[in-house]
Amino acid sequence: MKVLARPRRWPGVPRTLGMRLLLILAAGLLLAHALSFALLFYERAMATRGMMLAGMAQDVPLSVALLERLSPSERAEWLPQLQRRTYRYLLRPAQPGTPLASERARQVTALVDRSLGHRYALRARAVSRLPERYEVELTLRDGRPLTIEVTPSLLPIARWLPWVLAVQVALLLACAWLAVRLATRPLVQLADAANRLDPAGGGVAMPQDGPLEVAQAARALNALQARVSAHVSERMQILAAISHDLQTPITRMRLRVEAMDDGEAQQRLLADVGQLSQLVREGIQYARSANVALGPTVRLDLPSFLASVVDDYQDMGKPVQLGELAAVALHTHPQVLRRVVQNLIDNALAYAGGAEAGVRIDAAGLVCIDVLDNGPGIPEASLEAVLQPFHRLESSRGRQTGGTGLGLAIAQQLTQALGGRLRLANRDTGGLRATVELGTAQPTRASAD
């Protein structure tokens, strides 16, 4: 399959679509928010300044006139009452400073001058730039200095405003996260469904509700699954039908060969017919193993189960031994499990000439049935491949040992049908270990044999 080259990654860009969407949305929303707040503050600054100027135009002449009337000794008492938020009156000359720097300061000075009817000589000095502070000095009629100290500042921000801002941002982020989740979750579900897709048709169908695009994708995936499973089951049916129809001619051949005179030719033909019939038999088994009829489960005592399988082999004179037997029982389908174990033992007998079967509980608490042999094992690279149907190792004595290449594939399919897993591994001591991992163990009868 062609895999598209992965696009070059930008360092620092998150990998997941969800994260990226969230980042874009959050950045955009925060930026827009900041902009509107900046505008708001600007507007507010303009408004407060206008108010201050208007206030000063009325207030300054009044205050100056009042101070003129008061005797110098009374003036200090009145100062606090004349004081405003952005300016106050001081009974001293202006501090030395630089000439006014800002246009605003000059405007204010001009305004004061106008409101006083140009009757006073004003000397304006900027005292500090940050925070801006400037002083406008005039001389009262009695010769005493009066200084208006102006400290322009915005109206203070309400204490709750940052909190409102924080809540708003949090709300926006939450909405962005929700939207991103809504958009990306169906993708995750689709990927999950695609992973679970079972060629045999046992997979779970995607729910076809939800947003339109998601429903469309789900429908498409379900249709794909249906097509795949129809294709697979059709092939299985063809395989089963061919295998089945072959049995009558093979039976005829076999009977005919047996009726021949004894001889080498007859023996060879019999061997050929035997191989043919084994292939047909296992072909049917494989075709059926994809959707084997399981029937009800039974609580199965595994030591007795393995003993019965091994005894059958021993009764036929085959070198099969019992290994470790943990006392466990399990709800399963005995006939199907029997076929799995038989196929593994048959494989061991074919390639290693002997087998040992046992049951144990692994570290994860799973019941494991092991079939061990002392044969040549399987190269690590082929451990997965030998579970494929009709796969045979190149070096194997395949046909001479009577293998069809289907035994392990059947065992694998049936193990999956049982909800278990088939693993192959080479043993440290040489030979192969085939492990059927089943469910978790159940305690067995206390008074076991």
């Binding site: 089945h244 049995q247 009558t248 093979i250 039976t251 005829r252 051949m253 076999r254 009977l255 005919r256 047996e258 009726a259 017919v273 019939s277 047909v280 038999r281 049917i284 088994q285 059926r288 009829a293 039974v298 609580r299 199965l300 005592d301 007795s304 189960f305 003993a307 019965s308 399988v309 005894d311 059958d312 009764d315 036929m316 004179g317 029982a329 005995p334 006939q335 029997r338 076929r339 067995t444 009868r445 008074s447 044999d449």
Partner: protein
């Protein structure tokens, strides 16, 4: 022996029918051939048949329903060996439930078929019909055990299944078919010969001890299988037919 067993071979394939017939005749049996259910009924009505070899996959009425009808009709005592096309547990179970006595899987060898025929005839001769109890029931109870005859395992009181090997099952089956009756080692050997009779070389004594172990029957107590000195063995538990497993 003056009596020659008469075998009726029912198969829709002419070549198979004839070749099987030829082989059986060559081995001293009397053989009739039938191509379908109609011919089979005609042959059963006109002559004494000792055993029917019946193909499962036939056009028209198939072997399974023929077998079931045979068991329901007047020829119910005639043993049947099925020729099944598929080596599958469910086919075997269905076949045996339909009343077949044994089965051979296609493609079979004529020698294998002959061995099955002889074993079934020998078995039915040895058993008076009224003692073939387990044929009828899928579940047989005795002592603290139940025997599931189709799945071939023992069930304990909790319903846990303890599978039996083929030889153990056949031996136990013979015992529960003949409770309270002393069976000689020869009888047991004959009755328990399985599908791989030639290879079966364990002595009956060994098999009995293995079965006792499976039943949890201590050699001292012998609650299930008693040894009768110099005669053989007897199954000493009463046997109850329970029908289908719950």
């Amino acid at each position: 022996m003056s009596h020659t067993d008469h075998i009726l071979v029912v198969d829709d394939d002419r070549d198979i029918r004839q070749m099987v017939g030829d082989y059986l005749r060559k081995n001293g049996l009397r053989v009739s051939l039938a191509a379908d259910g109609r011919e089979m009924k005609a042959a059963l009505d006109t002559s004494d048949v000792d055993l029917v070899v019946l193909d499962v996959m036939m056009p028209g009425e198939d072997g399974l329903s023929l077998c079931r009808n045979l068991r329901a009709g007047k020829h119910r005592a005639v043993p049947v060996v099925l020729l099944t096309a598929r080596d599958d547990e469910t086919d075997r179970i269905i076949g045996l439930e339909m009343g077949a006595d044994d089965y051979v899987t296609k493609p079979f060898s004529s020698r294998e078929l002959l061995a099955r025929i002889n074993a079934v005839i020998r078995r039915t001769r040895m058993l008076p019909p009224n003692l073939q109890v387990s044929e009828a029931a899928r579940l047989i109870g005795f002592g603290q055990w139940r025997l599931d005859t189709s799945s071939r395992h023992l069930l304990d009181e909790q319903g846990t299944a303890y599978p039996l090997s083929g030889a153990e099952f056949r031996l136990l089956r013979v015992f529960v078919d003949h409770p309270q009756r002393v069976l000689s080692r020869d009888q047991l050997l004959n009755l328990t010969q399985g599908r791989d009779a030639e290879l079966f070389d364990r002595s009956i004594d060994l098999l009995v001890s293995r079965l006792r172990q499976r039943l949890g029957d201590a050699a001292k107590e012998q609650a299930y299988i008693k040894t009768v000195r110099s005669e053989g063995y007897v199954f000493c538990q009463p046997v109850v037919l329970l029908g289908d497993p719950a």
